[in-house]
Symmetry: C2
Subunit: 257 residues, 2 copies
């Protein structure tokens, strides 16, 4: 791999996403992406006594499913990168403690899964045959931790988003039939001073744009190059902010978003 531009890595031998798995909660099961998930749960508890235990179970089962679907033995997975939103990343560390794979905890909030994909890809191209990455979140445990316990029945402001209940996992391999991870552009912290825990989209939009612009500059590509440009969920408000900011930057960078 080599660096191109300021923040982007280009892989010489792009690692392959061998297999993925996802398990999601009831709300996600009713959404437009439902058919793409491996398992849709009927309730937020999944037979556990707390939301945190449920989240741990979700990430554990998702990871087991990804490994199982890949057809590789878990012994052949050399590293696991995982994280979540809860304090001390308890979902992933408790959920994956039985995995017996060298473990590196990560915390990137909404970017955790992509951080995991990035580090897995780097590790795979550098020295491993197969690596694993995973991330989880849970609507109920996230509300309790970041906002108000659901039992309070607080009214939610119009800018509030709905944290996903679910987990995703991917097995990354040195060789395979793709899809491939060809480039990684690692973002910087961009803090525009948003302090409203119910307006995460506004908090994240400037960083999303900064990373996007950097990626386009580093690769010399135009947004038209892509079939889809996907960010973490910015919500309606954050997406509007991203679009507005992008239009301002357009003049400077001559990109078309």
């Amino acid at each position: 791999m080599k660096k191109i531009g300021k923040q982007t890595i280009k892989f010489d031998c792009p690692p392959s996403i061998s297999e993925v798995a996802s398990i999601v909660g009831p709300k996600e099961s009713k959404g437009p992406l439902a058919k793409y998930f491996d398992e849709c749960l009927d309730d937020e508890f999944w037979g556990e006594k707390s939301w945190e235990k449920s989240e741990s179970k979700i990430i554990k089962e998702t990871v087991n499913m990804a490994i199982s679907k890949s057809g590789f033995s878990s012994n052949s997975i050399e590293y696991c990168f995982a994280g979540d939103l809860l304090n001390q990343c308890i979902s992933s560390s408790f959920g994956l403690r039985g995995l017996n794979i060298p473990f590196l905890g990560i915390f990137g909030a909404c970017s955790t899964f992509v951080e995991g994909l990035s580090l897995s890809a780097i590790m795979t191209e550098s020295c491993a045959e197969h690596t694993l990455c995973a991330a989880s979140s849970h609507f109920c445990s996230a509300e309790k931790q970041f906002r108000f316990p659901l039992e309070l029945g607080n009214q939610r402001p119009p800018t509030s988003q709905w944290t996903v209940t679910g987990a995703g996992a991917a097995v990354i391999s040195k060789s395979g039939n793709g899809p491939y991870i060809t480039h990684i552009t690692t973002g910087k912290i961009v803090d525009m001073g948003i302090k409203d825990a119910n307006n995460m989209g506004a908090a994240m939009a400037p960083a999303a744009l900064d990373t996007l612009i950097c990626h386009l500059k580093d690769t010399g590509r135009n947004p038209n190059y892509y079939d889809a440009i996907i960010t973490g969920d910015l919500g309606y408000v954050g997406k509007d902010i991203l679009t507005e900011l992008a239009q301002k930057e357009r003049i400077q960078y001559k990109i078309c978003l």
Copy 2:
């Protein structure tokens, strides 16, 4: 770099630790390592209104000091790996938000700094000239979060340890005069069921030994090879457990600890 054995990476061109910096609190300033720290603080607040803000300031100033001592411009540092013990890694993300360096958050609790060193070294050998890693903790913020707020004046049990108030940072470079990072052995989660938040040494000792034994097996080395074998602080209780467990394993692995 290449994998040797099960969990160990050996670097072909070992990255160099170009510079380090550390700032510590009042208790650490009175300890036997005091003369090695760059700055010793007189109080836990360092002019801030909360312990969390103080911790953020400590990691920020430590990182600035490491970069400044290294003589490299911060623009030449390509990646920053950092984390801490607080929820959502707030010390490092708030402390380092002004850094303007691509940022990857990590969470490994007591292993955070070594996880940062590992990932920085991998990134440096793979594709970067200079990377940075940092970690912080703060006795007062950690007690508040993991045990009891200090104001309660709770009695501390004999097994309780004293979380460091301080931060460490290191600049890792592709070339330099060392010390070099030659190998990395990444540990697995080893959970023997210790549930006492005041007995962290007992919780960590089995994982420390597991990683140590794996490193010795992978490298084919004997503990005598090393001038020092250093773990995260296991405390008196955890150290005794490690020694006892090691003696049991001795027969099987023929190592001498």
